[in-house]
Amino acid sequence: MIEVEHLTKYYGDILGVEDISFKISKGQIVGFLGPNGSGKTTTMRILTTYLSATSGRARVAGFDVQEQAMEVRKQIGYLPEHPPLYNDMTVQSYLEFVARIKGVKKAEVDERVERAISLCSLDEMKARQIKKLSKGYRQRAGLAQALIHDPPVLILDEPTIGLDPRQNAELRDVIRGLAGDHTIILSTHILPEVTLTCQRAIIIHRGKIMVDDSLENLTRGKDLEQVFLRLIGQGPALDEPGTEDSGQET
């Protein structure tokens, strides 16, 4: 469903990601794992056609992100790191607007909006102005927006950031419920997140893929946290001295 080949992105002189390649087949939930600034968001933005890559190729559902951007955009539901919400709109009118710009036919809009609202448990909030929503509901409105046109691919950038444990668990249930029909990439720097939701983890550090394996293999006999910290050079079994910048926050 998603194929990435030797993708490289530089922002001027600054490295975003370098030579990353991976494939995700249909129906998988994949966790993108990495410290802040490791290139998760960059990769997602390239896959969603928001940014263009410096070199390399990426295909979503068989469409090239560079050359067939419009087709790719129809296949993707995207929740960016900051949910893209219009504060003056109500949840309902916001979702109606998003449905229209995603190309949902006018006759189907109401039905799609209803579905997204019930999937994300937003019923009580649908008539409320977005600026009056709590953080958790904002995040859910963001997810509802990504689901509205029932896209085969979902790209969720830190979907659970800033939520309390209960909201977190609820959102996770929603995401797990979507698996199977949808191919999902979600990024996070919170490790339990991945263990609970994903089948496979891709660990990125400083723009490079360090590990790409199923969760079973990664956690066999050890804790994912240990694996992760060792890979990004901060774990106990250190071969070389850890370097100064990035990765401190994990």
Partner: protein, 267 residues
Amino acid sequence: MRAIWVIFVKELKAYFLSPVAYIVLTGFALLSGWLFYQLLERFIRITTIQQGYMVGGQIIREWTLADDLMIPLYKNLSVLFIIMIPAITMRLFAEEKKLKTEELLFTSPLRTSHILLGKYLASVVLISVLLIPVAIFPALIYHYGSQPDMGPILGGYLGLFLLGFVLAAMGIFTSSLTENQIVAFIFCAVLEMFFFTIGLAAGTVGRIRIFSVPIDFGRVIWELSLYEHFDSFTTGLIGLSDIFYFLSLIIFFLFVTRYSAASSRVG
């Protein structure tokens, strides 16, 4: 077309969901009424004193409703536009950047040019709504005036629309450059004033030679000036070159906005 329409409706609603439309519409209506009243008072005053513009005891031009009431009104309104239009356009792209909703728009199956046109047309409609109440003044003059020359009066009114649309194109351009609406506002006002006043230099520069081709630089500057082209509408003769000038400025600014709006993503 669907995309343009959806964005257009969203932007027009946004104007009326926030106080912007109400403040600008009532403000402009009140100020234009006030200006009309003051200019009318002045017109009555000068006509009771003498018949026309006098030089050395000779009347060289009689006072007219067009030249001494309506055209000064339009020119005053054009100055109001310098403040009103950026207030309307400043949010169009800057707000999307600030709210990060830009990322939603640019990852949806919409063309940048369609997003841009939807937004521009929403501001064009608001500006047209702004100018509708102004029509009452030419109507009053037509009804109560003694055979006013309606050519310049209607020409000037039409010129206000075109002027507003050009300034809106400049405004949407400056809005696409920043996520700060105040910066967009100020930059737009500066750009507008530059185009308004550039004609002042026309008389002071002469011919220059570029690659030994003599070019009347003063004329070039004169032709670039918004004020001069707006002014020629108030003669009552609508020149094709004036319309062409306004249209080409609109197209130019929309064209550059097409690129600057998308530039934050190229990175």
